[in-house]
Amino acid sequence: METLILQGTEDTPGVKLDYTSGEFVFSGRSLPEDVNSFYQPVFEWLDRFGTKPLTNSSFDFRLEYFNTASSKVLLDIFMKLEEISRKQNCVLKIKWFFLEHDEDMLEAGEEYKELIEVPFELIAY
């Protein structure tokens, strides 16, 4: 399973999907010009991951900002993880990090948590 690493930029998030080390992290800002083309490699990676998932994996989201189009894609990512967990009968966790005083980010995490059926942890830092 290859690793997908994308460096974060002013408008696109850092992405680290490393099967070997078991680190799965999204960080930074997401406001790409074209969400579909940016996140396509992520969905392709997730499809491959789904054929041989690492049980007990934690997918960490440390986002500072994301636009509305990204908000929709994030929901799709969470639903994909939920689907993998269900179909392969494995434990996958999502960790949603938010800066302590960032109420909007906390609220966004709570809204996702309500919809998603895999363990979804909200962590202040």
């Binding site: 636009n67 908000s71 929709k72 919809l115």
Partner: protein, 183 residues
């Protein structure tokens, strides 16, 4: 153009900028690079002024949605290839984010309905609408999820103000003003 005509119109334009206490003004084609540039400028300015983080983030969110909306609309329809305008101002304890672009008249009622809907909702209502809309939404051909106005209303915390001015046959000029209270 004769100087007299320019003079009178420039003064009106100047007064408009004064009304907004404009710090950023741009007219032209909007692309992702322009969006990044303005976001960077606004962020730096607000950091220098020691604006509270939460207010800075709200302004960043509103500007992103508003500017990316223009980018998308300039890719098709009445606004394609046509200049749009953006203005950022700070006056009377508010940041003002103002945009103007051409719009086909047949789109007007759709836009009005959306904005009127978000203006009529309180915080809880907006949250519910956002959640429902996001579940149903798809990413469009021009890359939007149709959630922009809802997000702008939530983050700005104030009603969106808009106007449609007829320009020529079947085309109007749509202006949108979002305000963010500073403290």
């Amino acid at each position: 153009m004769r100087n007299e005509a320019i003079g009178a119109r420039t003064h009106e334009f100047f007064q408009l900028l004064q009304d907004f206490n404009a710090t950023l003004v741009y007219q032209g084609i909007f692309d992702q690079e322009i969006v990044k540039t303005f976001l960077r400028m606004a962020e730096n300015r607000l950091k220098e002024e020691n604006t509270e983080d939460s207010v800075r983030k709200k302004l960043f969110s509103v500007m992103t949605e508003v500017l990316q909306n223009i980018c998308k609309h300039q890719k098709s329809g009445a606004a394609e290839g046509n200049d749009a305008i953006f203005l950022l101002g700070q006056k009377d304890n508010e940041y003002a984010v103002f945009t103007g672009n051409l719009i086909a008249d047949e789109m007007i009622s759709r836009v009005k309905v959306k904005i009127d809907q978000v203006n009529g909702l309180d915080k809880e209502g907006l949250k519910e609408l956002y959640k429902q809309s996001r579940l149903k939404s798809e990413i469009s051909e021009v890359g939007g999820a149709g959630l922009g106005f809802i997000d702008i209303a939530r983050k700005s915390g104030n009603p969106l103000q808009y106007h449609f001015a007829p320009v020529e046959k079947d085309i109007s000029f749509f202006t949108l003003l979002s305000t963010i209270t500073i403290n």
